[in-house]
Every structure is written in C-alpha cells, then in structure tokens.
Amino acid sequence: MSLNLVFLGRLEDVAGSGKLSVPVLPCIDAVIDSLDPSLGQALKAPRVKLAVNGILVQDTDAPVLKDGDEIAFLPPVSGG
C-alpha cells in the first residue's frame, strides 16, 4: 500500500531523490504534510503543478488517492 511520488527539476534536489515511495494517505495535502517540512514547503510553492497518474490536476480537484498512484510535482518548465 504505497504512493509513488515523482519530483521533477529542482524539486529532485530538494527531495534528495527523483522518486519516493510513501504510505497511502487519502489526499495530497496529507501526503505533503507527512514529508520533511522543507520539502513540503517547496512542493506547495505557487508555481508547482501536480499530476496524478499523468493527468494534471487543479488543487480543487482533490483526487482520492489509492495504492500505486503516481503523484508528480512539476516546477516551472525551463523549456526545450
């Protein structure tokens, strides 16, 4: 029973890794709050976008998370 977190760009450096497996929690806010506070703060920065299982979500979507879901944290892109 776990969630796969993916950290892109500079968030990888903050997280210390590009991927992290965490226990399932029902919502994204709870997941973020369970992490190291400095990482949590970086993930909550206003321009960080979220994708759940490859679909971009708005804060208001508040998807219910389940085992095996992948949550990607996407800082502003730096372009191709």
Partner: protein
C-alpha cells in the same frame, strides 16, 4: 540520472509516433522524444525526400552551445506529459498552416556542447507556411514543453529557470 519514464503508464519513449493514427484528423506528423543522440541532418534529408510535393522545407536545429562555460546540459522529461504535449503541438501546427508534413524530434537526457537538442522541420508547398510553422513550433517547444533543464558549470549542476524571452516569443502568435 534516473528516468522517470520507467514509472509511466503511457506511451513508451523513443518510438516513432504518427499523429494521424492517434488523432485521426491530421496527417504526416512525426514526433519523437529521444533519450540518445540523433543526427538532425539525416532526419532532414529523409523528411525532405519523403515530401516531393513540397517546394520548401524549413528546419531548425538547436544544439548545445559551446563556449559559455557549460560542460554539459541535461533535459529531464516526464513521460506521461512530455510526449503527448509534443504531439498536440504538431497537430496544432498542422491545423494553423497549410503543410505537407511536420517533424519534431527532441532529446532528453545528458548532452555535451555540440550535441543536437531539438529538430523541428516543416514541409509546405509555399515557403511562407513552412517558415511560420517551424518558428511557431520552436517558440512553443521552448516555452511550454514539459522539460526541465540543468547545466553543469565548473563541475556543478544548476537548474535553469524559465526565460522571460520565451514568454515574449510565444506572445507573438496571439
């Protein structure tokens, strides 16, 4: 460097994608996301050869610049978003101009100065369409693509923030 694509459930990377098959309304798009080096000129040659009805082929090659103290460049992509967005871009380029074909090839991973990063080519009966399409595609790839970039200088990697110029470029298209 890990590739997050391993965890994705969508299309495998590095494969040739024909928008026609997936989108059903556009023809002759060739969009690829590559994690290993490619030869842009060979791509241009086969693209132009495959469009004998086109009078003009405009192409843009972006390569890692030498001489700014950059030892290496890395582009990171997120598989579930990056390739689908490139495919969407190809479709919108096709809809906006009268083209015989669009080619978009983009690298991900670690590159060194001189390595090709991106190739965009547009084939059209009239060169004005081909120029505008390639220009538009590059502006949008640069400002909207799901790529995260870092540079290695003096042995240290630094993430690159978005450039304001990129947003100015894209604003030209209204």
């Amino acid at each position: 460097m890990r590739r997050f694509s391993r965890t994705a459930t969508r299309s495998p990377s590095c494969r040739r994608y024909r928008a026609a098959e997936a989108v059903g309304c556009e023809r002759h798009s060739d969009v690829r996301l590559l994690t290993s080096p490619f030869a842009p000129a060979e791509e241009i040659a086969s693209f132009a050869r495959a469009k004998p009805e086109s009078g003009g082929v405009v192409s843009f090659i972006g390569q890692v610049r030498e001489g700014d103290g950059v030892e290496a460049l890395e582009l990171q992509h997120y598989e579930p978003l990056t390739l689908p967005a490139m495919e969407k871009l190809a479709v919108s380029v096709h809809r906006r101009w009268d083209l015989d074909g669009v080619l978009i090839v983009h690298r991900s991973g670690v590159m060194v100065p001189g390595d090709p990063i991106v190739l965009v080519a547009a084939a059209a009966r009239h060169r004005r369409d081909a120029f505008a399409a390639a220009d538009f595609a590059m502006d949008h790839l640069k400002s909207e693509s799901w790529f995260w970039k870092r540079e290695k200088r003096g042995g240290e990697w630094h993430w690159i923030e978005p450039r304001e110029q990129d947003f100015d470029d894209i604003a030209r298209w209204g």
